[in-house]
Subunit: 556 residues, 2 copies
């Protein structure tokens, strides 16, 4: 590991980060010109090196066995191509294989012997380059191998052999790879801003800072996100993103099975609803447009167009200047909307069963469990311990019952019965429900009318309440849903009571949908990033987001 | 059908449409106030009517059998609930059923007898309301039924019976429904801007205008899109959108089977790439941001982060002032990116097999064929006649071969071998390939370097060409793809040659990804809307889009 720098600080200065989004300045242009000059010099140097290498190669018996990878239409692997490094465990001894993976470390033992650790995620194998042999491996080749920068990608052909003794430093312990050919596919630089291996554990809390932990440097969340391409190579970080992929596929699977149609809403709207607060404004040719805040209106218009059951997987944009561990300006929404036959609890039950299906699959399907185990092994304290209700019977309480539970446990829930439960109380409630009902997933039903948007259907039996619900995982909200108002007059009245004009440009098409006749319906919008965050118990939603966006981050 | 207006013109004036996206004017506010007054008057009138109705009800033996639908937590259907109207064909005679669907038409035969046509998409059944019987159905109830506005949604409980003779005007011919109870779930107004039934055929060409066709009024595409909620109820229009849903599910199915990870790119970027042309600018708190033009950079960064195979289903934004039948400012991209082992044709073959899988499924799976048949029956001339290559063996020609084919058929392909094939020639080529190779789907490989973006990998054997390809359906492009440059120096050089600065804010994170080492890779981006458009042979991509956006349309 000698070639890896000790410091995990990014190469780039903070000043440069801050310039994100600005137009290229004079100094940037100057810098670009300088860079060009540098590149030309580098090219010249490369050429010289190439010539020197060619000279040396005249005395090199192995010059055809290593060096830059050259692709031709006939370039085929000379050994059996192993797609996943982990599969090496399953091949027979003495098999000739070809692999393509990263160099995790190099060690030049002597002029006659080099060792490399070749890796792909959690799978690693030791590769041995030894002088002589059938191939007549040269000292030049051994030197070249010992000098490969870590994180470079190489293609190796060689023989799978049993080592003298079991190798303890790699995941594949029973084999090593005796290199016959090694070509450079993609060369990494000598210095990287952060190291992959320093990202394979939970990022430090703000108090911990960039502290070394158990002998490892632990890169801050900011450092990881600034250098996403490198931190993503850390197996735990990649597993988190892959688990998000699983949730998307599971959502699609469940929706398809239940005859939902996958629709594409529009993300551009001609007028801002709700007065423009929380909505991003766009220059749209000669006029303005807005990024929609949610696909709510489009889902409901599809229902009014008789589509019965629709679902969406797409971005949700929020122009909210919130800088918390669970807010982003852009996240992924898993939305569904369905007609109701008799009672809005049909929708609530459907949503509960959907969530139980997804979480149960994450806990039981081998491909998901594999990912959870990687994350758990990397030291995430809550990964793998998520509790579903016994017998998969969803636990559902009303808003009033939730407040009562909090009060009985000594929490100050205020005088007003309609006052919201705050974030801290929500978390406390999560703990109360876990101890009473043994589940980390539950729903709260029947929220007060004052707390819900204008399109939420009132409770016909109590005008102060609504037919609405939130879903929770570990005491934190992952979904908001409700029966929606399908009666045009009631909708207009409700909007006016909330100070909105049902005939305004931004609402007209939406309200018309109900004027033209619409079936009773309800639905919900799940936050994909939050599902992953709370299932795994991650501290920050950014960890569960491939390229997070917040008021201060617009790159990479 | 007497209650349906003869005109299909929208109620709203064109002037109002043009105000899309503008801030509410004084006249709009005045109008809103007027509207409020109107609503209050209407409420008063409703109250009076209600009182009158209650009076009349005192002499009405059937007053509990009809009227507004009232929901209570115990409201359950009194008959067997039939979810899909088409399922009525399968029930036994004399079954008591409950259905909820739209009133397509009403006919008051006499004071003692009313007929209704109840419909759901293409499925229709005749409902009979006759005086007397066990329920003591009253003349008031019959009058009420005869006066229901079409497109209203009603809940009916009644007996399924054989009619005296087969009914020719409904899709269910062997049964009629003898109404015992009928409640109003959602009332449509007397006048609608367009009629559902006038949208169930291809929209008129510009030459045809809003002309009557075979006795039906044919609503223009603009009229349909302005009133999407109504036109979407037309079974052919809904089937087109449902077919789009099938393509999304099929894409996900194929990707999952081939171990792709479903990633979420960001749609917001801090700097505009390629100089900002074609990119929408956003106000982002105190700074600016841009809507990404494609997920290209994010897909490639995921590959550089060792994700191997990634796919995306999401919006693509293009700030291009194109007003054609195949361009939108927002469409859905089905994107994939994968590492390459030996040759970029691995990616090309994968893409071809993906498309053949999707199209073959659309042609053979019963749920898809059902949709194609609805569209075909509605008179779309090319629906259902799409040709796949014999034996599902993809037809692949090079750009040079394509030009040669055109030249041999007498087309002027210009002097320059590197000159692009224009849209008209592409269509002609589609016809040539159909006649020669009997396929509507094919690919063109090896485009000139001058025609492709900077990240396209050059052809190692010919510096004028690239390892890139387009996919075509019926002579029109549905996908662009290529091997991408994974070598940092080559990428920077290529960017500089195209006048781009690899170190500019908008590129820095992207180019760094390759500096840190990246495996060879390639991919493509399919246009979901175009796949549906060209598979069905629709004239305009807007027909294959639920809520289309173009330079002149930002609503509904």
């Amino acid at each position: 590991m000698a070639s890896q720098p000790e410091s995990s600080l990014p190469e780039r200065s903070k000043g440069e980060q801050g310039a994100e989004g600005a137009a290229p300045s004079k100094s940037a242009l100057k810098k670009a010109a300088k860079e060009k000059e540098k590149a030309e010099k580098a090219a010249k140097r490369q050429q010289q090196e190439q010539q020197e290498r060619e000279k040396a190669a005249q005395n090199d018996t192995a010059s055809h066995l290593y060096g830059p990878m050259v692709y031709s239409s006939s370039s085929v692997p000379t050994g059996r191509y192993i797609e996943d490094l982990g599969d090496l465990n399953a091949v027979e001894e003495e098999t000739k294989v070809t692999i393509e993976a990263r160099v995790y470390s190099t060690r030049k033992q002597s002029a006659k012997l080099s060792f490399l650790v070749i890796g792909e995620g959690d799978h690693t194998i030791q590769a041995v380059v030894a002088e002589g042999g059938e191939q007549k491996i040269s000292r030049q080749m051994i030197k070249w191998c010992g000098g490969i920068n870590t994180e470079s990608i190489v293609r190796i052909t060689g023989l799978v052999k049993k080592p003298f003794e079991e190798i303890k430093s790699t995941s594949i312990t029973k084999y090593e790879l005796h290199v016959q050919e090694i070509f450079m596919v993609s060369e990494a630089p000598e210095q990287l801003p952060i190291q992959r291996k320093d990202c394979n554990q939970p990022p430090p809390t703000e108090e911990e800072g960039n502290a070394e932990k158990e002998g490892l440097i632990n890169v801050s969340l900011k450092g990881r996100l600034d250098n996403r391409v490198i931190s993503l190579r850390a197996s735990a970080q990649q597993a988190i993103i892959e688990l998000q992929s699983e949730v998307s596929f599971l959502f699609a699977e469940y929706m398809r099975k239940h005859k939902f149609k996958w629709i594409q809403p529009s993300y551009l709207a001609g007028a801002a609803t709700e007065g423009g607060a929380g909505v991003f404004e766009i220059k749209y040719f000669e006029t303005k447009a807005y990024l929609t805040q949610s696909p709510q209106f489009f889902k409901q218009m599809a229902i009014a167009g008789d589509m019965k059951r629709v679902c969406i997987n797409g971005p949700v944009f929020r122009a909210e200047n919130s800088n918390t561990k669970r807010h982003l300006t852009e996240f992924t929404g898993l939305d569904f909307e369905m007609t109701i036959q008799n009672h809005y609890h049909e929708v609530l039950s459907f949503g509960e069963q959907l969530m139980i299906f997804i979480i149960r699959a994450l806990q039981t399907r081998p491909e998901c469990q594999h990912l959870v185990n990687i994350i758990k092994k990397a030291g995430y304290p809550e990964a793998g311990d998520f509790q579903l209700p016994p017998g998969d019977e969803a636990v559902r309480i009303t808003f009033a019952e939730a407040k009562k539970m909090l009060k009985e446990s000594g929490y100050d829930i205020g005088e007003d019965e309609m006052e919201d439960i705050d974030t801290a109380q929500e978390k406390a409630l999560g703990a109360l429900i876990l101890s009473k009902h043994h589940t980390d997933f539950y729903t709260i039903d029947k929220y007060p009318r004052t707390l819900r948007p204008f399109y939420t259907h009132p409770d016909p039996t109590n005008p102060l309440l609504t037919n609405s619900y939130d879903f929770f995982m570990r005491g934190q909200e992952i979904m908001s849903g409700a029966q929606r108002i399908h009666n045009y007059d009631l909708l207009c009245q409700n909007m006016r009571e909330k100070g909105l004009d049902p005939l305004a440009e931004g609402f007209r098409h939406y309200t018309d949908a109900f004027r033209y006749g619409c079936a009773p319906h309800g639905g919900g919008g799940l936050g994909l990033n939050r599902i992953v965050q709370f299932f795994l118990g991650l501290r920050d939603v950014r960890e569960a987001t491939l390229f997070p966006r917040d008021p201060g981050r617009l790159a990479p």
